[in-house]
Amino acid sequence: MEGMKRPWLILLAGLLAAVAGYAGFYLATTARGAAMRHGDATGLGWVKTEFGLSDAEFTRVCQLHAAYAPQCREMCRRIDRKNDEIQRLLGQSIRVTPAIEQALQEAARLRLECQTMMLKYFFEVSQTMPPDQGKRYLAEMEAQTLMTMPHTLTR
């Protein structure tokens, strides 16, 4: 009876080994991603993990982010209002009127102001990091924000 059971036990052992191996490697490789998401709606966990920040550095980054967030929200509201105004003007006209031109100039000034504000924040954050990581952070943020072509009228 024992001899008959053995092949089936080996079959089961193989399947268990496969499941255990899968679970072990899966959990080990996804641990970093889980740490990035850990209780975080602002993505700051990503900054900590990606740039290997110490707790002190991360606290400073969180403080900078907390100070920046209200300015960012206010900028969002101003952009929304300006976009609404441009949409309204475009809906009322079939040519570029002085009002449209002025609204576009204001939108461009707003973009300049927004980009300057973002850059100041990025520089401040980068300075809390070790120099190499700070450079990498700046390059990443510039690529993700200033170097993109945002769809300003679709917000």
Binding site: G3, M4, R6, P7, W8, I10, L11, A13, G14, L15, A17, A18, V19, A20, G21, Y22, A23, G24, F25, Y26, L27, A28, T29, T30, R32, G33, A34, M36, R37, D40, A41, T42, G43, L44, G45, W46, V47, T49, E50, H65, Y68, A69, C72, R73, M75, C76, I79, R111, C114, M118, Y121, F122, E140, M141, Q144, T145, T148, P150, T152, R155
Partner: protein
Amino acid sequence: MKTPDPAEPADPLRPILQRWEVRSALPARFETRVWQRIRAAEAEPMPFYMALATWIEQTLRRPALAVAYVAILLALGLTLGDWQGHRQSARAESAARQLYVQAVDPYQAVLR
């Protein structure tokens, strides 16, 4: 046939069974039909699950093959776990980066 064990108590049925004779005649071609049925049963293909069970029992009885089987499954599990884990991790990293970018760039922010 089992010889009677002198130590066993006498079974009253035994002498009766020894005297019993089958008097009814066998049906015609009885023996031929029995052999035909045996040949038909032998010729019938074994169901897949039984063939598989037999093959597994015979194969995994050999230590070298059993070790190889467990090792291959373990390696497959590790490889698949690593591959899927990296894919999942890359997705999570991308989502977390996007979340941060949306939190700092008013032009990419989702409506709050």
